[in-house]
Each structure stands twice: as structure tokens, then as C-alpha cells.
Amino acid sequence: GAGVSQTPSNKVTEKGKYVELRCDPISGHTALYWYRQSLGQGPEFLIYFQGTGAADDSGLPNDRFFAVRPEGSVSTLKIQRTERGDSAVYLCASSPLAGVSYNEQFFGPGTRLTVL
């Protein structure tokens, strides 16, 4: 079946603009995660959704970042007033069921965001 998909694959924007990044998780996966990966670093946790609710948003760097998952499937990460430091690859991952003893996470290909 289809894996996690993310759109767009690349996004170039100007400083101060607003961007939306979309994630389509694997069908039926209730857990959804957003990560940010800078060059030469591992992914850094941003936010976790269990169903429709953001159960843990402790990794969001500031209030310019916001994410939604209104129907418990597709999620959108929104960044307001973008800054050059926001440039990174934004990864989405989903997992079949929250609450199991462990969770293998299935990652999408990421959206490369460049803020000029």
C-alpha cells in the first residue's frame, strides 16, 4: 500500500511569509508525528497527534509554528512569519496504533523548506 506522503517536496519562500506543509499518513494510522531535520543532524521532534488532538506539542520552537489534524488523517504544519532559521527538511511520520508497547514510525520523504 501507499506510504506516508508529503507535499510539497520543496518549498522556497521569502522571510516573513506564511507556509503550509501537508502530510498524508498511512491509512488507518492513528499516531502522527512531525519532525524537523537540519543538515547533518538527526530529526528533531516537533509535535505528536493522537487522532485529531495534538497530544504533545512540546517540540514546537515557538508560537509561529502550529499544526492541525482536523479529521484524524491528513495533517498540516503551519509556519507564520518565516525566518531564515526555519530552513530545514520537515518530516512527517505515522504509526499504526498509539498505546502499543512500542511504535515503529513510518516516515514520509519530507518537505525541504528554504527561507530566503
Binding site: 530529526p43 521532534f45 497530544a55 504533545d56 498505546g99 512500542y102 511504535n103 516516515f107
Partner: protein, 118 residues
């Protein structure tokens, strides 16, 4: 403060040899440790998971060890092949609770770039 280190940024080995990658951590009490592979331009792909009460786990040519006393995991690829060339990430899974449900909050190391030469 909490810290995860993968000891080598880059590792170069000859085809057929065993690659050994190291992941060390401090100030964590992970329930699980996971290893992922990441190819350029792609998201990480899950390889193996080991629980805190397990010493060793194997899958085909892959082997992971987990020493919670040393706070270290070793990841081995035996009979390495050029197709094994990629970045390998270790991730600590510290069980968290939210909304009444346990979930895995992954904290990744910076990765080790493995190159297997023919």
C-alpha cells in the same frame, strides 16, 4: 542535560567487512532504542528495535546490542555491501503519556554516514 552521540560522523569500510556503529547517551532512561536507515533525499526507514531488558537483537545481517549500564548501543552490519551505504540513525524511545495513552517520543542522534567501498 540529555545528550545522544553517535561516535562517528562518517565510517568507511571495505565490502565484506563488518561495520560497527556506536550510539551513546546520557541522562536518558529509554524504554527502547531504535535504529533507522536514511538515504539522501528520503525519510528514515526503521530497521531494528531493542528493549531495555534485551541485550541483543538480530535481523538477517544486522545485529544490535543495548547496554543500559554503559548507556550504549552498538549496531553491526555483517558482510557489508555497497548497497548498505547510507546514514544510520539511532533513536531513543522514552515512553511518554498523553491523553491517557502511552506513545514513543523519539530522540535521534545526529547519524553516522556509512560508505561501503567495493
Amino acid at each position: 542535560s540529555q545528550k545522544i552521540e553517535q561516535n562517528s560522523e562518517a565510517l568507511n569500510i571495505q565490502e565484506g567487512k563488518t561495520a560497527t556503529l556506536t550510539c551513546n547517551y546520557t541522562n536518558y532512561s529509554p524504554a527502547y532504542l531504535q535504529w533507522y536507515r536514511q538515504d539522501p533525499g528520503r525519510g528514515p526507514v526503521f530497521l531494528l528495535l531493542i528493549r531495555e531488558n534485551e541485550k541483543e537483537k538480530r535481523k538477517e545481517r544486522l545485529k544490535v546490542t543495548f547496554d543500559t549500564t554503559l548507556k550504549q548501543s552498538l549496531f553491526h552490519i555483517t558482510a557489508s555491501q555497497p548497497a548498505d551505504s547510507a546514514t544510520y540513525l539511532c533513536a531513543l524511545d522514552s515512553r511518554s503519556n498523553a491523553g491517557g495513552t502511552s506513545y514513543g517520543k523519539l530522540t535521534f542522534g545526529q547519524g553516522t554516514i556509512l560508505t561501503v567501498h567495493p
